[in-house]
């Protein structure tokens, strides 16, 4: 532990409760130094992506390929009704676990026993909070400077005192007038600021912003508009269509200290599906490339200014945005790479130097098997090859469906094996694209132009797979097929274990080197949230969020039938495993 906070210690002594004293006395402040070195601190899980490497990997090895078969439930926490399941990533700081469940609930629990330290319930504007379809889930928290941070579905950012759960500040960042967007993604703390992106790719409001707020006060330090924020962007939306253009940055990006840059993926443009078809450069609902939607943007962390970008899906015709997915920093032979997957099932390998504008693509490869929305991607330029446009009218067997080959669940990169583990989902849809009426500019109304039905890929049932590849070349080392595509994030460890929380409720441990199954446990309900590992009282624990009901999971009943048709969608737990 780096530092003792007098405030913390004083408050801890004032507590009369039993277990709480031990916890509070251990809790160290999470200052910037600790966060930037999170990769060297495997006892804790200090941010959504684990560390600024973004690897979703842990150096812990108490639990390993030899003994993982003995893993058992150490404790369970039930948050009560959690609409659309528990989708969030827990964080672990000095023996205390923090996690969020739906509708703005935050929990602090003893990491070893699960005993409650505190609970916070945000009072949400229900109308707003449940008025769009991105609700009421939350995908995680950030910690730093003595606070726990959460973004809410009604557009606020809230800082809670880490020790007491009391509100330190509570600020409205996004308004109805400003496009009716909200926050579902986890924030990330960067250099005294809390950075978060809004949802709203399908809402007719500009400007899909990404914010940095002051970690101590909640004042907005900078805002980056993913659409309409600069002339280059405006010029790429014919007829001023950026004003109804959606955008957003709904998942958590990353920070690269070596260039002082924020890396963030952005959402699709609105309307979702554009009747313009292959004449999209000049006609349709949003003629042009629609910058910086479905792109990666690299921002100056201090100012939010755009340093570089790459549009992975120019004029995204499929809702295969880049907001999903992690930014994994990988160094090889002296070159720094940033590896980033998107919904279209493309993994982009960028040169991490943002002096290249747009970003330099070092490689790009497809990980889907059944896709037909493009013929492929040019590995040298990252440009899509052989696009299948979806003009007004009916289109059958479009693969993948709107849900993508890759969803928002994170993969894992294991520096010991040198392999990237990633889930891919394979199903398709029949879609009819219609000419939607544009809602008023900036109105925040839904802007969609299609109806569809999910289908199986031609000649076989929908399925999923987890692959282990060289992250830079994409070369496969091993691959395991899943009857039901997993929708949760992965975790790999130095103990050569890869955890795969499954859709049907089975969490499985695989050998990182071979993919061999080492352990299985039925958690009783599907998973589509986070998974972490940490230590408490010297012992290694694995914590996984359970619960079903995300939008993507909604396909499973029509595609697979049971157990998904009977799976509750207003439930979920935090399950924590340890060796006996």
């Amino acid at each position: 532990m780096k530092r003792w906070s007098t405030r913390l210690t004083g408050a801890a002594l004032a507590l009369s409760a039993t277990a709480m004293i031990g916890i509070s006395m251990q809790a160290g402040a999470v200052e910037w130094d600790r966060l930037r070195n999170a990769d060297k601190d495997p006892n804790n899980w200090l941010m959504y992506h684990g560390s600024f490497n973004g690897h979703h990997y842990s150096d812990l090895s108490q639990i390993n390929a030899q003994n993982v078969k003995n893993l058992q439930v150490a404790w369970i926490h039930t948050p009560g009704a959690s609409k659309r399941g528990v989708q969030s990533f827990p964080l672990a700081v000095d023996g205390v676990l923090y996690y969020a469940s739906a509708s703005g609930q935050v929990w602090a629990l003893d990491g070893a026993s699960g005993e409650m330290v505190w609970k916070y319930q945000a009072k949400l504007d229900q109308d707003r909070s449940e008025g769009t379809f991105y609700n009421p889930y939350t995908r995680g928290l950030a910690v730093g400077y003595g606070n726990v941070y959460i973004g809410t579905t009604d557009g606020r950012m809230i800082a809670l005192d880490m020790k007491s759960g009391k509100v330190v500040w509570d600020k409205t960042i996004l308004t109805v007038e400003g496009g009716n967007k909200g926050f579902t993604g986890a924030p990330v703390v960067v250099k005294g600021m809390v950075v978060i992106g809004s949802n709203g790719g399908e809402l007719s409001g500009c400007c899909g912003p990404i914010f940095a707020v002051d970690a101590k006060t909640g004042e907005v330090r900078w805002q980056f508009d993913t659409i309409g924020g600069d002339e280059r962007s405006k010029a790429s939306w014919g007829n001023d269509s950026w004003k109804t253009g959606g955008g957003g940055g709904w998942m958590t990006g990353n920070y690269d200290e070596s260039t002082n840059s924020i890396w963030w993926g952005t959402a699709n443009p609105a309307p979702d599906y554009d009747w313009g078809g292959d004449k999209w450069k000049t006609t349709g609902a949003r003629p042009g490339d629609n910058l910086y939607s479905s792109s990666v943007v690299v921002l100056n962390a201090d100012t939010g200014e755009l340093k570089s970008w790459f549009q992975e899906m120019p004029h995204d015709a499929w809702d295969f945005d880049s907001a999903v997915g992690e930014f994994m920093k990988i160094e090889r032979n002296g070159t720094q790479y940033m590896v980033h997957p998107n919904k279209g099932g493309i993994i982009f390998v960028y040169n991490a130097d943002p002096a290249n504008a747009p970003l330099k693509v070092e490689n790009a490869y497809m990980v889907g098997k059944t896709f037909n929305y493009v013929k492929g991607v040019d590995p040298k330029t990252g440009q899509l090859m052989g696009r299948r446009e979806l003009p007004e009218g009916k289109h059958t067997n479009v693969c993948p469906a709107i849900d993508g080959n890759i969803s928002w669940n994170a993969g894992s990169y294991n520096p010991n094996t040198g392999l990237l583990y990633k889930v891919v989902q394979e199903w398709c849809f029949d879609i009819e694209v219609v000419k939607a009426d544009a809602p008023p500019a900036f109105s925040g109304q839904t802007y969609f132009g299609a109806s569809w039905t999910s289908t199986h890929p031609e000649g076989r049932k929908a399925f999923g797979h987890v692959s282990a590849r060289d992250p830079l070349s994409g070369k496969i080392k091993w691959e395991k097929e899943y009857k039901y595509p997993p929708l949760a994030s992965l975790l790999s460890t130095k103990g050569n274990v890869l955890f795969v929380p499954g859709a049907d409720g089975i969490i499985e441990a695989l050998d990182t080197r071979t993919g061999a199954s080492l352990w299985r446990h039925n958690d009783g309900i599907g998973h589509h949230g986070g998974i972490i590992t940490y230590t408490a009282k010297g012992k290694q624990f694995v914590a996984v969020a359970t619960g079903w009901g995300s939008h993507v999971s909604g396909n499973y009943c029509p595609l697979f039938g049971e157990p998904f048709c009977s799976m509750p969608t207003d439930n979920g737990q935090l399950l924590v495993f340890a060796l006996p």
């Binding site: 509708s103 769009t132 009421p136 802007y447 569809w452 029509p558 969608t569």
Partner: protein, 125 residues
């Protein structure tokens, strides 16, 4: 808009039901949703309600195939709900599952949805 529109739509829906138009094809709504329904005579000039476009814009994220198939939300064709219940569900939504539309859709638009949904023939029965 006005009551004539929804009445007219209802009439179209009923006619389609009795005539069995399009009911054989599982991927085709019973009521041709592209049919623009304008009331004649239409007292105040208003934009015609196009249920198909409205559905694509507001409901398709969750209800597949214009309501004929289960998707993230249930199949709407063959709903056990009464027209009044359907109206309420669309207006108010259901917490944690479906947003309410009373702020973004007019009463006539919701009425048109009700008529459309109640007029859908269940492709699986």
């Amino acid at each position: 808009m006005n009551v004539f529109a929804s009445q007219a739509l209802l009439a179209v829906a009923m006619a389609a039901m009795t005539a069995g138009i399009g009911v054989h094809a599982a991927d085709e709504p019973t009521v041709e949703p592209g049919a623009e329904v304008t009331a004649t005579p239409a007292p105040p000039p208003a934009k015609p309600i196009n249920v198909k476009t409205m559905f694509a814009m507001n409901c398709s994220w969750c209800h597949d195939g214009y309501g004929l198939h289960a998707g993230k939300g249930p199949k709407l064709a063959g709903t056990q709900m009464t027209a009044a219940q359907v109206y309420l569900r669309i207006a108010k939504g259901k917490s944690g599952m479906m947003p309410g539309f009373e702020k973004t859709l007019s009463k006539d638009q919701i009425d048109a949805f009700v008529a459309y949904i109640k007029g859908l023939k269940d492709p699986d029965s």
